[in-house]
Amino acid sequence: MTIKEPPRAEERETLVRSSSSIGTLVDLLLRNRRTLAGALSWVGIGVLGAFVFVAIFAFFLAPYDPQRIFLTPPNQPPSLQHLMGTDDLGRDLFSRMLYGARTSLEIMAIGVFLALVIGFPIGLVSGYLGGKLDRVLVLIMDSVYAFPGLLLAAMVALFLGKGVFNVGIAITVIYVPTYFRVTRNQTLSVREETYVDAARALGAGSWTVIWSYIAYNVLISIPVVFSLSAADAILTAAGLSFLGLGLERPTPDWGLDLSDAQKFLTSGVWWSSFFPGVMIIILTVGLSFLGEGLNDIVNPLLRKERA
């Protein structure tokens, strides 16, 4: 997916050397909480927070061990003992969904976080220094960006093998260009701001300029990209599992459970396909709400139109 890029610096309301751009962000969120965009963002934060909580405390929240097999017979519809029913091996679906949150978030964290850690500094340096290095890097990143993400991830996963960490790496490869792009664009805008010139005129070294002035203000746009790429990462991981390249069984994973359960759908066993699918949709919708909402708030063009 193409991440919509946050606007250029001159269109933003406040752009000072901020000691905390997350402070600015929270400030914006609170001020906008009654608008649709603000509401969407808060919904997104809530959803993400809920899933993180579930992932961390799955051990305490899950009624059963997600691997425990109740062969009584399998494929039980939802009931009081099994809130979401059981799957074709008689495992409690509710517990598997809770632990599945952990797997999804792990993959998401590794993949997107690593992409950020790699893409952000490269984008920063490339945008600030410009010149030949910048042109070459842009060409490389744009080319990778243009290639179908799932296919690239499939290639990487094919050769690395299965496992949470390997899937995370495969996803990192897809999203580094996104972070690079966004960071670089923001850096380009901020670089031209007067206060940066002023700082340079006063003799501040390149490194100080980059770090103190540009980075802070660029970081405000990161959460938008983070949310949207995280949503996409979860879908890509599910796609990899569907293709048989993602995780090894019996790891509880929404994508894997969904693709394993689909063969039973035609016989009327709807719950084992429905709940994993719903989990994926809720988390990705939450993340995309968060991203969209943040984007709308941080993008003053649309804000101007609202007036």
Binding site: L151, T266, I281, T284
Partner: protein, 346 residues
């Protein structure tokens, strides 16, 4: 040198830019395919061919050479169209490029179908949402736009199959054409696109059958893509509506309706072409999953089969062809953009 700002100059410059992009893509693929650890040939072939043949294959493919020697060979092979022969179980011995060209039209047909669905639904809903800003239709459509692209495409495909094929019997559940070639001979192959070929053959009945089989896969993929169209068209429409020349038109007393359709609408569509181009990457990714769901014999299925049988030359060939297509499409999109929006050429 054609003069600055002419379409020709612009096209030439885009073509020139396309080469390094292609080169970089090929290099990235080379890195992924060759540098990552593993000896795919041995893994592939042990069990089907004698050791003598395996070593011969490795030598022939040049895989036992150091990577800096392999790289120029790899590039020259790609540009001369020599993708080698298949080593997988299913296409054993057949030239890779030939197999790919056989399966490619199926994916192109699916892509076109999905694009049509996505454009119609996406642009339609985007315009409705944009022109009724913040009213209930707008909110519903914005929610639709946010939710539709996160639905796993393989799940959506299965749902559509169950509802429309099994439940309502409106469409066939899978395959590109009827599986019985005696009762339903497929259209004579001219382009490989069944719908087009049946029209070229003058057979409306065959055309109807190809469309019927194209319906559900296109709908699946198209729906998922439409979300993006919706949001972007809406945003662009809003931007255009609030722009100066539209304000001027309003000031002159022209009716809102005409303003929307004559001014805002047309200009809002300009970026749609660009979006189309960008979407192809996502389209190909989604097509792999869709083809699997609908047993659609295209490039996606070919890639999956070659992965399953560790058919290394075929995997490499398929992925390279994808890269070529994407670069070609981006050049075409740029050209179209240059055609309709002269500002871009400078």
């Amino acid at each position: 040198m054609p003069k600055q700002g002419s379409l020709l100059a612009y096209t030439v410059s885009r073509l020139i830019l396309a080469l390094p992009t292609l080169l970089i893509l090929l290099t990235v693929l080379f890195l992924v395919l060759r540098i990552l650890p593993g000896d795919p040939i041995s893994a592939l072939e042990a069990g089907r061919r004698s050791t003598r043949d395996i070593d011969a294959d490795k030598a022939r493919l040049g895989l036992n050479l150091p990577w800096w020697v392999q790289y120029p060979v790899y590039l020259s092979q790609v540009f001369s169209g020599n993708f080698g022969t298949s080593l997988g179980q299913i296409y054993l011995g057949q030239p890779v490029l030939q197999v790919i060209l056989q399966k490619l039209p199926a994916t192109i047909e699916l892509a076109i179908g999905a694009m049509l669905v996505a454009t119609v639904i996406g642009v339609g809903t985007g315009i409705i949402a944009g022109s009724r800003r913040d009213k209930p239709p707008d909110i519903v459509i914005r929610l639709y736009g946010s939710i539709i692209w996160v639905i796993p495409v393989f799940w959506l495909g299965l749902m559509l199959q169950l509802v429309f094929a099994v439940g309502l019997h409106w469409f066939p559940p899978n395959l590109r054409y009827e599986p019985d070639p005696v009762f339903f001979p497929p259209p004579t192959r001219i382009t490989g696109l069944f719908a087009l070929d049946s029209l070229l053959e003058g057979r409306i009945d065959k055309f109807a059958i190809s469309l019927a089989h194209l319906a559900l896969p296109s709908l699946t993929l198209g729906l998922v893509l439409s979300g993006f169209f919706t949001r972007t068209v809406r945003a662009n429409l809003l931007r255009t509506i609030s722009s100066d020349y539209v304000e001027a038109a309003r000031a002159r007393g022209i009716r809102e309706r005409i303003i929307i359709y004559r001014y805002a609408f047309r200009n809002a569509l300009i970026p749609v072409v660009t979006i189309l181009g960008l979407q192809f990457a996502i389209l190909f990714a989604g097509a792999v999953l869709t083809e699997r769901t609908f047993s659609w014999d295209g490039m996606g299925t070919l890639l999956l089969t070659s992965i399953d049988s560790r058919d290394y030359p075929m995997i490499q060939g398929t992925v390279i062809v994808y890269a070529l297509i994407i670069v070609a499409i981006s050049v075409i999109i740029d050209m179209i953009n240059g055609l309709i929006d002269p500002r871009v050429r400078y």
